[in-house]
Protein backbone atom coordinates (compact mmCIF):
# COMPACT_ATOMS: atom_id res chain seq x y z
CA UNK A 1 0.00 0.00 0.00
CA UNK A 2 2.94 2.29 0.55
CA UNK A 3 3.53 2.70 -3.13
CA UNK A 4 -0.15 3.24 -3.88
CA UNK A 5 -0.51 6.04 -1.33
CA UNK A 6 2.59 7.73 -2.73
CA UNK A 7 0.77 8.21 -6.02
CA UNK A 8 -2.72 8.72 -4.61
CA UNK A 9 -1.79 11.71 -2.47
CA UNK A 10 -0.55 13.65 -5.51
CA UNK A 11 -3.60 12.85 -7.65
CA UNK A 12 -5.29 16.23 -7.17
CA UNK A 13 -2.21 17.99 -8.56
CA UNK A 14 -1.56 15.48 -11.31
CA UNK A 15 -5.18 15.07 -12.46
CA UNK A 16 -6.39 18.68 -12.34
CA UNK A 17 -3.07 20.57 -12.30
CA UNK A 18 -3.82 22.23 -8.99
CA UNK A 19 -0.95 24.59 -8.14
CA UNK A 20 -0.11 26.66 -5.08
CA UNK A 21 -0.14 30.46 -4.98
CA UNK A 22 1.78 32.49 -2.42
CA UNK A 23 -0.62 35.26 -1.40
CA UNK A 24 2.32 37.25 -0.02
CA UNK A 25 4.13 37.72 -3.38
CA UNK A 26 1.51 36.32 -5.81
CA UNK A 27 3.98 33.82 -7.29
CA UNK A 28 2.38 30.55 -8.46
CA UNK A 29 4.21 27.28 -7.80
CA UNK A 30 3.82 23.98 -9.57
CA UNK A 31 4.75 21.37 -8.40
CA UNK A 32 3.08 22.55 -5.20
CA UNK A 33 5.18 23.64 -2.23
CA UNK A 34 4.35 24.46 1.39
CA UNK A 35 6.84 27.32 1.76
CA UNK A 36 7.50 30.13 -0.72
CA UNK A 37 11.26 30.14 -1.56
CA UNK A 38 11.16 33.93 -1.81
CA UNK A 39 8.97 34.86 1.18
CA UNK A 40 10.00 32.05 3.55
CA UNK A 41 8.18 32.46 6.89
CA UNK A 42 6.15 35.38 5.55
CA UNK A 43 4.33 32.78 3.42
CA UNK A 44 3.14 30.66 6.34
CA UNK A 45 -0.63 30.29 6.14
CA UNK A 46 -0.66 32.14 2.81
CA UNK A 47 -0.02 29.26 0.38
CA UNK A 48 -3.36 28.51 -1.32
CA UNK A 49 -4.48 26.17 -4.09
CA UNK A 50 -5.20 27.51 -7.54
CA UNK A 51 -6.06 25.63 -10.73
CA UNK A 52 -3.88 26.08 -13.81
CA UNK A 53 -5.10 26.52 -17.39
CA UNK A 54 -2.82 23.71 -18.57
CA UNK A 55 -1.57 25.86 -21.45
CA UNK A 56 1.96 26.96 -22.14
CA UNK A 57 4.93 26.74 -24.47
CA UNK A 58 7.86 24.38 -25.06
CA UNK A 59 11.08 25.54 -23.36
CA UNK A 60 12.99 22.44 -24.46
CA UNK A 61 12.26 18.85 -25.47
CA UNK A 62 13.94 15.50 -26.08
CA UNK A 63 12.98 12.20 -27.65
CA UNK A 64 13.81 9.50 -25.09
CA UNK A 65 15.03 6.15 -26.45
CA UNK A 66 16.65 4.63 -23.37
CA UNK A 67 13.66 4.21 -21.05
CA UNK A 68 13.07 2.91 -17.50
CA UNK A 69 10.95 -0.30 -17.20
CA UNK A 70 7.65 1.54 -16.54
CA UNK A 71 7.99 3.38 -19.89
CA UNK A 72 9.27 0.56 -22.12
CA UNK A 73 6.01 0.29 -24.09
CA UNK A 74 5.95 4.04 -24.82
CA UNK A 75 9.42 4.51 -26.26
CA UNK A 76 10.52 6.51 -28.01
CA UNK A 77 8.58 9.19 -26.12
CA UNK A 78 8.87 12.96 -26.00
CA UNK A 79 9.79 14.60 -22.70
CA UNK A 80 9.63 18.38 -22.47
CA UNK A 81 10.00 21.39 -20.23
CA UNK A 82 6.79 23.42 -20.52
CA UNK A 83 6.51 27.02 -19.35
CA UNK A 84 2.89 27.40 -18.27
CA UNK A 85 1.02 30.63 -18.92
CA UNK A 86 0.65 31.21 -15.16
CA UNK A 87 4.45 31.20 -14.71
CA UNK A 88 5.84 27.86 -13.52
CA UNK A 89 7.93 25.59 -15.73
CA UNK A 90 7.23 21.86 -15.44
CA UNK A 91 8.42 18.53 -16.83
CA UNK A 92 5.99 16.39 -18.84
CA UNK A 93 5.51 14.31 -21.95
CA UNK A 94 4.22 15.59 -25.29
CA UNK A 95 2.02 12.98 -27.03
CA UNK A 96 0.00 12.52 -30.25
CA UNK A 97 2.38 14.81 -32.07
CA UNK A 98 4.62 14.31 -35.07
CA UNK A 99 8.21 14.47 -33.82
CA UNK A 100 9.12 16.61 -36.84
CA UNK A 101 6.58 19.23 -35.76
CA UNK A 102 8.20 19.75 -32.34
CA UNK A 103 9.93 23.05 -31.85
CA UNK A 104 11.10 25.17 -28.94
CA UNK A 105 8.59 27.98 -28.41
CA UNK A 106 5.53 26.12 -29.79
CA UNK A 107 2.26 26.24 -27.85
CA UNK A 108 0.94 23.17 -26.01
CA UNK A 109 -2.10 22.28 -23.86
CA UNK A 110 -2.60 19.53 -21.32
CA UNK A 111 -4.50 16.26 -21.74
CA UNK A 112 -5.32 13.57 -19.17
CA UNK A 113 -3.53 10.30 -19.89
CA UNK A 114 -2.06 7.11 -18.53
CA UNK A 115 1.50 8.05 -17.52
CA UNK A 116 3.12 4.77 -16.53
CA UNK A 117 2.43 1.16 -15.60
CA UNK A 118 4.33 -1.02 -13.17
CA UNK A 119 4.52 -4.30 -15.06
CA UNK A 120 1.55 -6.44 -16.16
CA UNK A 121 -0.22 -6.63 -12.80
CA UNK A 122 1.07 -3.42 -11.14
CA UNK A 123 -0.86 -0.22 -10.70
CA UNK A 124 -1.46 2.10 -13.64
CA UNK A 125 -0.80 5.76 -12.89
CA UNK A 126 -2.54 8.67 -14.58
CA UNK A 127 -1.73 12.33 -14.91
CA UNK A 128 -1.18 15.18 -17.34
CA UNK A 129 0.63 15.06 -20.65
CA UNK A 130 0.68 17.70 -23.37
CA UNK A 131 -0.28 17.98 -27.05
CA UNK A 132 0.70 20.63 -29.58
CA UNK A 133 -2.01 23.29 -29.96
CA UNK A 134 -3.59 23.51 -33.41
Amino acid sequence: MGELSRFWRESNHRYRMVAIKCDNCNQIYFPPRDVCPKCHRESIGKMHETELSGRGEIVSYTIVHDAPPAFMRQRPYVLALIKLDEGPTITGQIVDSDHEALEIGKRVRNVFRKVREDGKSGIIQYGYKFVLEE
Partner: protein
Protein backbone atom coordinates in the same frame (compact mmCIF):
# COMPACT_ATOMS: atom_id res chain seq x y z
CA UNK B 1 41.01 34.00 18.00
CA UNK B 2 40.39 30.62 16.44
CA UNK B 3 43.12 29.24 14.22
CA UNK B 4 42.18 26.78 11.53
CA UNK B 5 44.49 23.97 10.47
CA UNK B 6 45.80 23.58 6.96
CA UNK B 7 44.83 20.26 5.38
CA UNK B 8 47.06 18.08 3.20
CA UNK B 9 46.44 15.04 1.02
CA UNK B 10 49.15 12.55 1.97
CA UNK B 11 48.05 9.41 0.16
CA UNK B 12 45.75 8.24 -2.62
CA UNK B 13 44.77 4.98 -4.26
CA UNK B 14 42.09 3.51 -6.46
CA UNK B 15 40.97 0.31 -8.17
CA UNK B 16 40.53 -0.01 -11.87
CA UNK B 17 37.14 1.44 -12.94
CA UNK B 18 34.97 -0.73 -15.17
CA UNK B 19 32.57 -3.67 -15.23
CA UNK B 20 34.02 -5.61 -12.33
CA UNK B 21 31.45 -8.39 -11.97
CA UNK B 22 33.77 -10.66 -9.96
CA UNK B 23 34.57 -8.02 -7.34
CA UNK B 24 32.33 -7.09 -4.39
CA UNK B 25 31.65 -3.65 -2.95
CA UNK B 26 33.75 -4.38 0.15
CA UNK B 27 36.65 -5.88 -1.82
CA UNK B 28 36.86 -2.81 -4.05
CA UNK B 29 36.69 -0.39 -1.13
CA UNK B 30 39.33 -2.27 0.84
CA UNK B 31 41.71 -2.46 -2.12
CA UNK B 32 41.51 1.29 -2.74
CA UNK B 33 41.82 2.06 0.98
CA UNK B 34 44.90 -0.07 1.48
CA UNK B 35 46.55 1.49 -1.56
CA UNK B 36 45.89 4.95 -0.15
CA UNK B 37 47.33 4.01 3.24
CA UNK B 38 50.38 2.45 1.62
CA UNK B 39 50.94 5.51 -0.55
CA UNK B 40 50.73 7.75 2.55
CA UNK B 41 53.34 5.65 4.33
CA UNK B 42 51.18 5.40 7.44
CA UNK B 43 49.45 2.51 9.19
CA UNK B 44 45.71 1.83 9.51
CA UNK B 45 45.97 2.49 13.26
CA UNK B 46 46.98 6.11 12.47
CA UNK B 47 43.57 6.82 10.90
CA UNK B 48 41.32 8.68 13.33
CA UNK B 49 38.12 8.93 11.29
CA UNK B 50 36.68 7.47 8.09
CA UNK B 51 34.18 8.97 5.66
CA UNK B 52 32.56 6.50 3.25
CA UNK B 53 31.13 7.85 0.00
CA UNK B 54 28.44 6.00 -1.94
CA UNK B 55 25.26 6.83 -3.82
CA UNK B 56 23.04 3.84 -4.60
CA UNK B 57 24.43 0.94 -2.54
CA UNK B 58 21.18 0.56 -0.63
CA UNK B 59 19.13 0.26 -3.79
CA UNK B 60 21.48 -1.58 -6.15
CA UNK B 61 23.58 -3.76 -3.85
CA UNK B 62 21.15 -4.06 -0.91
CA UNK B 63 23.84 -2.52 1.30
CA UNK B 64 23.47 0.70 3.26
CA UNK B 65 25.98 2.27 5.68
CA UNK B 66 28.94 2.00 3.34
CA UNK B 67 31.09 3.93 5.84
CA UNK B 68 30.50 1.17 8.36
CA UNK B 69 31.16 -1.53 5.77
CA UNK B 70 34.46 0.00 4.68
CA UNK B 71 35.55 0.56 8.27
CA UNK B 72 34.73 -3.05 9.10
CA UNK B 73 36.54 -4.69 6.20
CA UNK B 74 39.48 -2.31 6.15
CA UNK B 75 40.04 -3.44 9.75
CA UNK B 76 39.34 -0.01 11.27
CA UNK B 77 36.18 -0.96 13.15
CA UNK B 78 38.39 -3.03 15.43
CA UNK B 79 39.81 0.27 16.71
CA UNK B 80 36.29 1.74 17.15
CA UNK B 81 37.06 4.92 15.24
CA UNK B 82 34.11 6.96 13.89
CA UNK B 83 32.96 5.92 10.40
CA UNK B 84 30.32 8.06 8.70
CA UNK B 85 28.57 7.50 5.36
CA UNK B 86 28.16 10.51 3.10
CA UNK B 87 25.50 10.59 0.40
CA UNK B 88 25.09 13.66 -1.82
CA UNK B 89 23.79 12.02 -5.01
CA UNK B 90 26.59 11.73 -7.57
CA UNK B 91 28.54 14.44 -5.69
CA UNK B 92 29.02 12.09 -2.72
CA UNK B 93 32.76 11.83 -3.41
CA UNK B 94 33.48 15.55 -3.27
CA UNK B 95 31.11 15.94 -0.33
CA UNK B 96 32.84 13.16 1.67
CA UNK B 97 36.27 14.71 1.07
CA UNK B 98 34.90 18.03 2.25
CA UNK B 99 33.60 16.48 5.49
CA UNK B 100 37.05 15.00 6.16
CA UNK B 101 38.64 18.35 5.31
CA UNK B 102 36.36 20.13 7.81
CA UNK B 103 37.18 17.54 10.49
CA UNK B 104 40.90 18.23 10.18
CA UNK B 105 40.59 21.94 9.56
CA UNK B 106 38.62 22.34 12.79
CA UNK B 107 41.36 20.63 14.79
CA UNK B 108 39.20 17.64 15.77
CA UNK B 109 41.34 15.12 13.84
CA UNK B 110 44.88 14.86 12.53
CA UNK B 111 44.42 11.99 10.06
CA UNK B 112 41.24 11.17 8.12
CA UNK B 113 40.49 8.58 5.44
CA UNK B 114 37.92 8.98 2.68
CA UNK B 115 36.76 5.92 0.75
CA UNK B 116 34.33 6.09 -2.17
CA UNK B 117 32.86 3.01 -3.78
CA UNK B 118 30.06 2.08 -6.17
CA UNK B 119 28.95 -1.04 -8.02
CA UNK B 120 26.49 -0.05 -10.71
CA UNK B 121 26.74 -3.25 -12.77
CA UNK B 122 25.04 -5.53 -10.22
CA UNK B 123 21.74 -4.88 -12.05
CA UNK B 124 20.73 -4.77 -15.71
CA UNK B 125 20.61 -1.51 -17.65
CA UNK B 126 16.91 -0.62 -17.46
CA UNK B 127 16.74 -1.58 -13.76
CA UNK B 128 19.72 0.68 -13.04
CA UNK B 129 17.97 3.45 -14.99
CA UNK B 130 14.99 3.15 -12.63
CA UNK B 131 17.31 3.71 -9.67
CA UNK B 132 19.53 6.44 -11.13
CA UNK B 133 16.31 8.31 -11.96
CA UNK B 134 15.54 8.44 -8.21
CA UNK B 135 18.41 10.97 -8.01
CA UNK B 136 16.11 13.40 -9.84
CA UNK B 137 12.87 14.72 -8.31
CA UNK B 138 11.07 11.35 -8.32
CA UNK B 139 7.55 12.77 -8.03
CA UNK B 140 7.76 15.56 -10.61
CA UNK B 141 10.51 14.50 -13.04
CA UNK B 142 10.99 10.72 -12.75
CA UNK B 143 7.25 10.05 -12.55
CA UNK B 144 6.75 11.46 -16.05
CA UNK B 145 9.57 9.46 -17.64
CA UNK B 146 12.58 11.68 -16.97
CA UNK B 147 15.94 9.95 -16.63
CA UNK B 148 19.28 11.65 -15.90
CA UNK B 149 20.12 11.43 -19.62
CA UNK B 150 16.74 12.87 -20.64
CA UNK B 151 17.26 15.84 -18.31
CA UNK B 152 20.74 16.39 -19.80
CA UNK B 153 19.14 16.22 -23.26
CA UNK B 154 16.64 18.96 -22.33
CA UNK B 155 19.57 21.11 -21.26
CA UNK B 156 21.46 20.30 -24.47
CA UNK B 157 18.58 20.99 -26.88
CA UNK B 158 18.04 24.51 -25.53
CA UNK B 159 21.77 25.30 -25.15
CA UNK B 160 22.55 24.16 -28.69
CA UNK B 161 19.73 26.28 -30.13
CA UNK B 162 20.49 29.46 -28.17
CA UNK B 163 24.27 29.39 -28.68
CA UNK B 164 24.36 27.70 -32.12
CA UNK B 165 26.40 24.72 -30.93
CA UNK B 166 26.41 21.48 -32.92
CA UNK B 167 26.71 17.84 -31.84
CA UNK B 168 30.32 17.80 -33.05
CA UNK B 169 31.27 20.36 -30.40
CA UNK B 170 29.64 18.25 -27.68
CA UNK B 171 31.46 15.19 -29.01
CA UNK B 172 34.83 16.90 -28.55
CA UNK B 173 34.41 16.64 -24.75
CA UNK B 174 34.04 12.86 -25.04
CA UNK B 175 36.87 12.59 -27.58
CA UNK B 176 39.18 14.46 -25.17
CA UNK B 177 38.17 12.18 -22.28
CA UNK B 178 38.87 9.04 -24.32
CA UNK B 179 42.23 10.33 -25.52
CA UNK B 180 43.35 10.95 -21.93
CA UNK B 181 41.86 7.68 -20.66
CA UNK B 182 43.84 5.79 -23.28
CA UNK B 183 46.86 6.75 -21.14
CA UNK B 184 45.26 5.79 -17.81
CA UNK B 185 45.52 2.11 -16.78
CA UNK B 186 42.67 2.58 -14.22
CA UNK B 187 40.20 3.86 -16.85
CA UNK B 188 36.96 2.03 -17.75
CA UNK B 189 37.36 2.74 -21.50
CA UNK B 190 40.83 3.10 -22.99
CA UNK B 191 39.83 3.20 -26.66
CA UNK B 192 40.42 6.35 -28.67
CA UNK B 193 37.18 7.93 -29.92
CA UNK B 194 36.67 10.09 -33.01
CA UNK B 195 34.16 12.92 -33.43
CA UNK B 196 32.49 10.95 -36.24
CA UNK B 197 32.31 7.86 -34.04
CA UNK B 198 30.77 9.87 -31.22
CA UNK B 199 28.05 11.61 -33.24
CA UNK B 200 26.99 8.36 -34.93
CA UNK B 201 26.53 6.48 -31.64
CA UNK B 202 23.12 5.04 -30.67
CA UNK B 203 20.61 7.66 -29.52
CA UNK B 204 19.89 7.71 -25.77
CA UNK B 205 17.82 10.90 -25.51
CA UNK B 206 18.01 13.21 -28.51
CA UNK B 207 20.30 15.04 -29.19
CA UNK B 208 22.52 12.94 -26.89
CA UNK B 209 23.93 9.63 -28.07
CA UNK B 210 25.63 6.92 -26.08
CA UNK B 211 29.02 8.60 -26.61
CA UNK B 212 27.70 11.76 -24.94
CA UNK B 213 26.94 9.79 -21.76
CA UNK B 214 29.25 8.50 -19.02
CA UNK B 215 29.04 4.72 -18.49
CA UNK B 216 27.72 2.82 -15.47
CA UNK B 217 30.97 1.77 -13.79
CA UNK B 218 32.15 -0.14 -10.75
CA UNK B 219 35.15 1.07 -8.81
CA UNK B 220 36.59 2.50 -5.63
CA UNK B 221 38.94 5.33 -4.71
CA UNK B 222 40.43 6.47 -1.42
CA UNK B 223 42.56 9.30 -0.07
CA UNK B 224 44.20 10.10 3.25
CA UNK B 225 44.10 13.65 4.62
CA UNK B 226 46.30 14.97 7.41
CA UNK B 227 46.81 18.18 9.37
CA UNK B 228 49.80 20.48 8.89
CA UNK B 229 51.01 19.51 12.34
CA UNK B 230 50.97 15.80 11.48
CA UNK B 231 52.67 16.35 8.13
CA UNK B 232 55.47 18.43 9.71
CA UNK B 233 56.00 16.12 12.68
CA UNK B 234 56.26 13.02 10.50
CA UNK B 235 58.10 14.76 7.63
CA UNK B 236 55.48 13.60 5.13
CA UNK B 237 55.10 15.28 1.77
CA UNK B 238 51.54 16.42 1.14
CA UNK B 239 49.40 18.30 -1.35
CA UNK B 240 47.65 21.23 0.33
CA UNK B 241 43.92 21.76 -0.11
CA UNK B 242 43.66 25.52 -0.69
CA UNK B 243 39.88 25.70 -0.74
CA UNK B 244 36.77 23.59 -0.33
CA UNK B 245 33.29 24.84 -1.21
CA UNK B 246 29.84 23.36 -1.73
CA UNK B 247 26.59 24.90 -2.95
CA UNK B 248 23.05 23.79 -3.69
CA UNK B 249 20.38 24.56 -6.28
CA UNK B 250 16.78 23.44 -6.80
CA UNK B 251 16.63 19.64 -7.13
CA UNK B 252 14.46 19.67 -10.25
CA UNK B 253 15.75 21.28 -13.44
CA UNK B 254 12.36 22.91 -14.12
CA UNK B 255 12.58 25.01 -10.92
CA UNK B 256 16.00 26.55 -11.65
CA UNK B 257 16.62 30.16 -12.67
CA UNK B 258 18.41 28.97 -15.83
CA UNK B 259 18.40 25.52 -17.39
CA UNK B 260 21.90 25.84 -18.82
CA UNK B 261 23.73 27.51 -15.96
CA UNK B 262 24.46 25.39 -12.90
CA UNK B 263 24.16 27.95 -10.10
CA UNK B 264 25.44 25.40 -7.58
CA UNK B 265 28.65 25.23 -9.62
CA UNK B 266 28.84 29.00 -10.13
CA UNK B 267 28.52 29.68 -6.39
CA UNK B 268 30.80 26.84 -5.21
CA UNK B 269 33.47 27.92 -7.72
CA UNK B 270 33.17 31.58 -6.74
CA UNK B 271 33.62 30.68 -3.06
CA UNK B 272 36.53 28.34 -3.79
CA UNK B 273 38.34 31.01 -5.84
CA UNK B 274 37.74 33.56 -3.10
CA UNK B 275 39.03 31.28 -0.34
CA UNK B 276 42.13 30.30 -2.32
CA UNK B 277 42.85 33.79 -3.60
CA UNK B 278 43.17 32.33 -7.09
CA UNK B 279 41.48 33.07 -10.43
CA UNK B 280 40.50 30.66 -13.21
CA UNK B 281 43.71 31.70 -15.02
CA UNK B 282 45.77 30.33 -12.11
CA UNK B 283 44.40 26.80 -12.55
CA UNK B 284 46.79 24.40 -14.32
CA UNK B 285 44.24 21.65 -14.96
CA UNK B 286 40.74 20.66 -13.87
CA UNK B 287 38.83 17.45 -13.30
CA UNK B 288 35.18 18.26 -14.01
CA UNK B 289 31.95 16.26 -13.58
CA UNK B 290 31.15 15.69 -17.26
CA UNK B 291 28.60 12.91 -16.75
CA UNK B 292 27.16 14.14 -20.07
CA UNK B 293 29.13 15.95 -22.77
CA UNK B 294 26.80 18.96 -22.58
CA UNK B 295 27.47 19.27 -18.84
CA UNK B 296 31.19 19.42 -19.60
CA UNK B 297 30.69 22.47 -21.84
CA UNK B 298 28.42 24.20 -19.33
CA UNK B 299 30.85 23.53 -16.45
CA UNK B 300 33.74 25.07 -18.41
CA UNK B 301 31.63 28.24 -18.39
CA UNK B 302 30.32 28.01 -14.83
CA UNK B 303 33.82 27.33 -13.44
CA UNK B 304 35.04 30.52 -15.12
CA UNK B 305 37.14 29.10 -17.98
CA UNK B 306 34.84 30.54 -20.68
CA UNK B 307 31.95 32.99 -20.91
CA UNK B 308 28.37 31.66 -21.08
CA UNK B 309 27.76 30.08 -24.48
CA UNK B 310 31.44 30.22 -25.45
CA UNK B 311 32.83 26.92 -24.14
CA UNK B 312 33.07 25.68 -27.72
CA UNK B 313 35.89 28.19 -28.32
CA UNK B 314 38.07 26.06 -25.98
CA UNK B 315 37.39 22.91 -28.02
CA UNK B 316 39.22 20.86 -28.96
CA UNK B 317 42.76 22.25 -28.47
CA UNK B 318 42.66 24.31 -25.26
CA UNK B 319 41.37 21.39 -23.15
CA UNK B 320 43.98 18.87 -24.33
CA UNK B 321 46.76 17.65 -22.02
CA UNK B 322 49.14 20.23 -23.51
CA UNK B 323 46.46 22.90 -23.97
CA UNK B 324 45.79 26.15 -22.13
CA UNK B 325 43.52 24.51 -19.53
CA UNK B 326 43.80 20.70 -19.67
CA UNK B 327 40.43 19.16 -18.75
CA UNK B 328 40.08 15.70 -17.23
CA UNK B 329 43.62 14.35 -17.65
CA UNK B 330 42.29 11.19 -15.96
CA UNK B 331 39.84 10.52 -18.79
CA UNK B 332 36.90 12.13 -16.99
CA UNK B 333 33.52 10.61 -16.31
CA UNK B 334 33.01 9.58 -19.91
CA UNK B 335 36.10 7.39 -20.24
CA UNK B 336 37.81 6.91 -16.87
CA UNK B 337 34.30 6.01 -15.80
CA UNK B 338 31.53 7.04 -13.42
CA UNK B 339 31.17 4.81 -10.34
CA UNK B 340 29.09 7.49 -8.56
CA UNK B 341 30.40 7.31 -4.97
CA UNK B 342 33.98 6.77 -6.15
CA UNK B 343 33.96 9.33 -8.97
CA UNK B 344 34.63 12.48 -6.93
CA UNK B 345 37.24 10.76 -4.75
CA UNK B 346 38.91 9.42 -7.90
CA UNK B 347 39.42 13.03 -9.05
CA UNK B 348 41.63 13.53 -5.98
CA UNK B 349 43.61 10.39 -6.81
CA UNK B 350 44.31 11.82 -10.27
CA UNK B 351 45.21 15.26 -8.89
CA UNK B 352 47.51 13.70 -6.27
CA UNK B 353 49.43 11.90 -9.03
CA UNK B 354 49.47 14.93 -11.33
CA UNK B 355 50.62 17.41 -8.67
CA UNK B 356 53.35 15.00 -7.58
CA UNK B 357 54.50 14.67 -11.19
CA UNK B 358 53.70 10.96 -11.27
CA UNK B 359 51.00 10.75 -13.94
CA UNK B 360 53.44 9.32 -16.51
CA UNK B 361 52.14 9.44 -20.10
CA UNK B 362 49.27 11.77 -19.20
CA UNK B 363 51.31 14.14 -17.02
CA UNK B 364 50.27 17.79 -17.30
CA UNK B 365 53.42 19.89 -17.62
CA UNK B 366 54.53 21.32 -14.22
CA UNK B 367 51.05 21.94 -12.79
CA UNK B 368 50.75 24.66 -10.13
CA UNK B 369 47.13 24.36 -9.02
CA UNK B 370 44.28 21.94 -9.71
CA UNK B 371 40.52 22.44 -9.57
CA UNK B 372 38.22 19.48 -8.86
CA UNK B 373 34.47 19.63 -9.49
CA UNK B 374 31.99 17.01 -8.28
CA UNK B 375 28.28 17.43 -9.06
CA UNK B 376 24.95 15.86 -8.16
CA UNK B 377 23.17 14.32 -11.13
CA UNK B 378 21.80 17.40 -12.99
CA UNK B 379 23.41 20.15 -10.92
CA UNK B 380 21.50 20.26 -7.64
CA UNK B 381 24.74 20.11 -5.60
CA UNK B 382 28.28 21.07 -6.62
CA UNK B 383 31.48 20.60 -4.65
CA UNK B 384 34.62 22.45 -5.75
CA UNK B 385 38.11 21.95 -4.34
CA UNK B 386 41.31 23.77 -5.28
CA UNK B 387 44.64 22.06 -4.60
CA UNK B 388 48.14 23.51 -4.55
CA UNK B 389 50.99 21.92 -6.44
CA UNK B 390 54.64 21.87 -5.45
Amino acid sequence: MITLNDVYIIGAGETKFGELWERSLRELATEAGLRAIESAGIYSRDVEVLYGSNTLGGAINAQNDIGGLISDFAGLAHNNIPAISVEASTASGGAAVREAYLGIRSGEYNVAAVGGVEKLTDLYGSEVLDLTSTLLDSEWEGFFGATPAAIAALVAQKYMKDFKVDRESLAMMSVNDHMNASKNPDAHYRNVLTVEGAVSSTMVAEPLGMMDCSPASDGAAAIILASEEYVKKNKIHGIRILASAVAQDYLALHSRKSIYRFDSTVVAARNAYKKSGLKPDDISFAEIHDSYSIYGLIELEDLGFAKKGEAKSLLPDDIKLDGRIPINPSGGLKAKGNPFGATGVGQFVEAFQQLNGKAKERQVKSPANALLHSMAVSGSTSVVHILEGN
